[in-house]
């Protein structure tokens, strides 16, 4: 066992409490103190589990994004097939339950504006990650940027469709695979 005081809660508990409150009062009207109180921890402790109110639901996504970056940082020339498999691996370990709930109930939660901001940041981050990978694969800067953006668009589109259809319906990986299949020919 690891030494030290055990954690009093978990990020999932925090995220669940947050979703409840977002549904009851809306995103804006819910303060960090509210979330912490419902989860049974102090406001200070909230920041041991998440860096911000908006980032709380995106934590699983961000962790997988770091994995994606590592995959594309490995030696070897990332061809299109490598990019595709890396993105699929990224999606396989991804289980963004609370985030899916938020996407599906964005209007009821008053989260449309926040989701736009936060998903935009993630999309750009993935685009940049893939672009640097594509550059290492020999592409010039411009088409690498475009390819990265296209891949990132496919990822976010798949995430949204998967969440709207209900996470139980299909595996996120499969939805994303379909999206990646649509990549060639999307810009003709």
């Amino acid at each position: 066992m690891r030494a030290g005081r055990p954690r009093a809660s978990s990020r999932d508990v925090l995220a669940e409490a947050a979703c409840e409150l977002f549904l009851e009062q809306g995103f804006e009207a819910t303060s960090i103190a509210d979330i912490a109180r419902r989860a049974g921890v102090s406001r200070s402790s909230f920041f041991n589990y998440a860096t911000s109110k908006a980032g709380l639901l995106w934590a699983p996504f961000d962790e997988r994004s770091a994995v994606l970056a590592d995959l594309l940082d490995a030696p070897g020339h990332p061809l299109d097939a490598v990019l595709r498999s890396a993105v699929l691996t990224f999606a396989e370990g991804l289980r963004p339950d609370a985030l899916a709930l938020a996407i599906a109930n964005a209007d009821a939660m008053g989260m449309a504006a926040d989701l736009e901001r936060e998903s935009a940041v993630r999309m750009a981050r993935i685009a940049s990650t893939i672009a640097t990978g594509a550059r290492r694969g020999g592409r010039d800067g411009l088409s690498a940027d475009i390819a990265g953006a296209a891949y990132a668009g496919a990822v976010m589109s798949a995430l949204r469709h998967w969440a709207l259809a209900g996470p139980g319906t299909r595996a996120l990986r499969d939805v994303l695979a379909d999206a990646l299949d649509a990549l060639p020919g999307a810009v003709s």
Copy 2:
């Protein structure tokens, strides 16, 4: 002449003052009060010219984005050629002087993180705008999202390259035209 008290400043003046301070002290260390003071207006008045500290430099870009949305909202089926010309029109009226300065001096200004966030939001917004246009042009949702993201990636990549090369070097429109030429074949 229009009735009422005349404006005491302008957004450009505010943006210029902001850039100076960002270079001197860094973005984080510069408060809105600082910017307003240097521009000779009160802190309250700052919000008559910009909605936020981060948005100040992006105001010209946002105005042209609204124009782009209007162009793609016009009747008629937006084919690829229409998308392309709309995006070029968007860029022609765009004169983001302060923004270009910030992009070129992002490190010296300590604006890397902020630029990532703000440009991500703009990129996603353009992607969404173009995606809805592409949908109206007959594409299915998925490839419309991908095409929108690819176009948006080209726009932001062109903006960055144009700013880094120095705004006097080439017209933004021409840089963007090259980027749009790279669209087909970027995802092969």
